[in-house]
């Protein structure tokens, strides 16, 4: 492995979704094993466990089953993060459980992913859960989706079975807001088309899953157009050397900021010019997502956390009424007229649920206008009223400035995640 190549690798985050028996853990185990990311002592440990349980082969799924209770039940109960690297890319897998009560984990894993792998069992084809996974991937605007048709070995590697499932899913997906879907027939258990090309499916001339992951184009997954810089922290050294230093630290949420740019500050509406973009390693000329930098302005203005630096001619929406698709995470139902703490970029405000417009059936996409009881794992469209204006873009346009979370003020739990429409 050449170290020089490693330095230049990109980071790709992907999420995996599947039902309990779709072989998701086996697939991840296979990716790790075939890409030689498993260490000898880890392999030894799962080999021993497999033998103790009387299993015939080494159960690669054991690699990803982390917590005690999970291994007892043989299912995954929480998002687990896995890492592996090839000379081309470094990968972060958000391994999320598929059964219904853990939709919240799937949403969590999907929120930062570039790619979603959705697994189906070749014997069962597209089932309700597959549709739910696809709808969530679409709601969360994961840029790329791969439908992995697994357990091809159990349908004799039959082309027709694969084509039928592909057809079935394509038809369903045409109703969704996804642009990039691929299909790969695999057997995670035997390794067909995971890292190595299958010799059992000569009829398939597409890429293996690993080739796909290494090559899918993710360069345009960030918004480089709308300049958004939420102020995170104000840096004031109070030292002799930096007596008048006042830097606005934050992570670029959209667009490209350059030294000398005319900028506008929200909420004040004052304008100024970028005097300097500072980092520990020295001044830089421009900053883009997802860089963490410190911006200094030419004028002595008083900005604080939650404020936003933008370009004058490209403003976000500034409003106290926000339309949101919300995923609910808590057994305590969403309350119409209920009050919650809302976090958006680096801003924290209070909000009230002004109206529940409809509940979305996440198996059929049907909009239920009557049923307004929004419980755990439900998704609904709501209108929120905030105590002061927030500066946002639609989630479709920018995941960073279009996402919110809601916090229950009594329990402090994160009860909902919202995508601004």
């Amino acid at each position: 492995m050449s170290i020089d190549i490693q330095h230049q690798t990109e980071l790709l985050r992907f999420t995996t979704a599947g039902s309990v028996d779709d072989g998701k853990s086996t697939l991840i185990g296979r990716l790790l094993y075939d890409s030689k990311s498993i260490f000898e002592d880890q392999y030894e440990q799962i080999k021993q466990t497999s033998e103790r349980r009387g299993e015939e082969t080494v159960n690669l799924a054991l690699l990803t089953d982390g917590l005690k209770s999970e291994r007892e039940q043989g299912i995954t109960i929480d998002v687990a993060y896995r890492y592996f690297a090839t000379p081309k890319r470094k990968f972060i897998i958000a391994d999320t459980p598929g059964h219904i009560q853990y939709t919240r984990n799937m949403v969590t894993g999907a929120s930062t992913a570039n790619v979603a792998l959705i697994l189906v069992d070749a014997r069962h084809g597209v089932i309700e859960q597959t549709k739910r996974h696809a709808i969530i991937a679409s709601l969360l605007q994961i840029p790329h989706i791969v439908l992995c048709v697994n357990k091809m070995d159990l349908v004799d590697y039959e082309e027709k079975r694969f084509e039928d499932i592909k057809e079935d899913f394509s038809q369903f997906a045409s109703k969704l807001d996804v642009s990039d879907i691929d299909f790969i027939p695999i057997s995670a258990l035997n390794g067909d088309n995971v890292v190595n090309k299958s010799t059992n499916m000569d009829w398939y001339d597409g890429s293996t899953l690993m080739y796909y992951l290494e090559n899918v184009h993710i360069g345009s997954d960030h918004n480089l157009i709308d300049c958004r810089f939420p102020v995170q922290f104000v840096i004031r050294p109070y030292s002799d050397e930096y007596h008048d230093y006042r830097g606005y630290a934050g992570r670029v949420a959209g667009g490209v900021f350059k030294k000398g740019d005319k900028v506008m500050l929200l909420p004040s509406g004052f304008t100024s010019t970028i005097a300097k973009i500072d980092t520990y390693d020295g001044e830089i000329n421009e900053a883009h997502p997802p860089q963490s930098v410190t911006i200094l302005l030419e004028d002595d203005l008083d900005l604080s956390r939650g404020d936003m630096i933008i370009r004058e001619n490209n403003k976000p929406d500034i409003d106290q009424d926000v339309e949101v698709m919300i995923c609910w995470f808590n057994p305590k139902t969403l309350q119409e007229r209920g009050k919650y703490t809302l976090i958006h970029t680096t801003q924290e405000v209070r909000c009230m649920v002004k109206e529940i417009r409809y509940k979305l059936d996440i198996n059929t996409l049907h909009r239920n206008l009557e049923d307004k009881s929004i419980g755990m794992n439900d998704i609904a469209r709501v209108v929120l009223r905030t105590t002061k204006p927030i500066f946002f873009d639609s989630y479709r346009r920018n995941r960073n400035t279009g996402s919110i979370i809601l916090i229950d003020e009594a329990t402090n739990e994160t009860v909902g995640a919202g995508m601004i429409i």
Binding site: L11, Q42, T112, L224, P290
Partner: protein, 302 residues
């Protein structure tokens, strides 16, 4: 294609970690950075320095000193603290033993590693810290793979893996009730190789223990341990001179070395990139049972 605006994976990880460290300074009243002297906590202090430059790191470091540290670790720590101009708080396991907070383990495999938990929790309580930044990584151990960036702890400092708050996008919920606190893990997404490559690329100074050197060692249960006053050797355990380096730095009693000729960072990276044993494979504290890390974490271990 707008590819001029992409970051290398190391720069992206750096940016993510700096964002989280700044979130901690912004969202908490009284944070502290847990410093063990290992490469991960050295990376943490380095990233914290970057996050607040040109200001100083706006929180102190907390070192839980077992009294069984390698002398190199303590020297390095004191120099670093002086260079950064931060305050160092020390929680002493020896003091904890002396006043009866914890009881020392006895026998050949005695270790003070487990005793750190009680001392850590006491130090956090005493300092009234509401957030403790740690250098844990998700790739280290399977229980850590499910850890959040912002990990909520109840008033007993316990981790409840089944009832963790969902964490989405880059929005972090730091709300808590009186007496509760958070553990925050800004380098969650780094792997061992990422850490080494980054430290090399940035030219960060590291303790000499990480590079190959000659040392008196003995072998116990397949693990190479350093000969020292704090470990009892069995009669059949022979001391010999070996050329070793350490992949993690913890207590002398439970940190295993690997035989190695890697005496520069570049050679270490090459070794890490091709090695076939996990980093914690040399930690005898993880080997006590299959779920020992999970059990310790639930109790409040870092």
């Amino acid at each position: 294609m707008s590819n001029n605006y992409s970051l290398s994976h190391l720069k992206e990880l750096e940016s993510e970690s700096i964002f989280i460290i700044r979130e901690v300074a912004a969202q908490f009243q009284n944070p502290v950075l847990m410093f063990s002297g290992g490469k991960d906590s050295i990376l943490m202090t380095y990233l914290a320095a970057k996050a607040f430059h040109p200001a100083k790191i706006p929180f102190p470091l907390l070192h839980v000193d077992t009294g069984h540290n390698f002398p190199e670790t303590i020297e390095f720590r004191d120099r670093l603290v002086e260079k950064l101009g931060v305050k160092l708080m020390v929680g002493s396991v020896q003091e904890g033993i002396d006043k009866g907070l914890v009881t020392e383990e006895k026998g050949f495999n005695a270790s003070r590693n487990g005793l750190q938990t009680a001392v850590l929790l006491e130090s956090l309580e005493k300092g009234k810290y509401d957030a403790a930044l740690g250098g844990a990584r998700r790739d280290e151990e399977k229980a850590r793979a499910k850890e959040r960036f912002f990990s909520h702890r109840d008033e007993f400092g316990q981790w409840e893996p089944k009832n963790q708050r969902p964490e989405l996008w880059n929005l972090f919920n730091s709300k808590k009730h009186f007496g509760e606190h958070f553990r925050v893990f800004p380098i969650s997404n780094w792997t061992e190789l990422d850490v080494w490559q980054y430290l090399a690329e940035e030219g960060v100074e590291l303790p000499s223990l990480y590079m190959a050197h000659e040392r008196d060692c003995f072998i116990r249960d397949g693990i190479i341990l350093a000969e020292s006053d704090v470990i009892q050797r069995r009669p059949d355990e022979e001391v010999k001179k070996m050329r070793v380096r350490f992949r993690t730095i913890g207590d002398m009693t439970c940190t295993g070395a690997v035989e190695s000729d890697a005496d520069t960072l570049e050679k270490v990276i090459e070794e890490v990139a091709t090695t076939r044993i996990t980093e914690r494979g040399g930690r005898s504290d993880d080997k006590r049972s299959e779920t020992s890390m999970e059990d310790r974490k639930k109790q409040g271990y870092f």
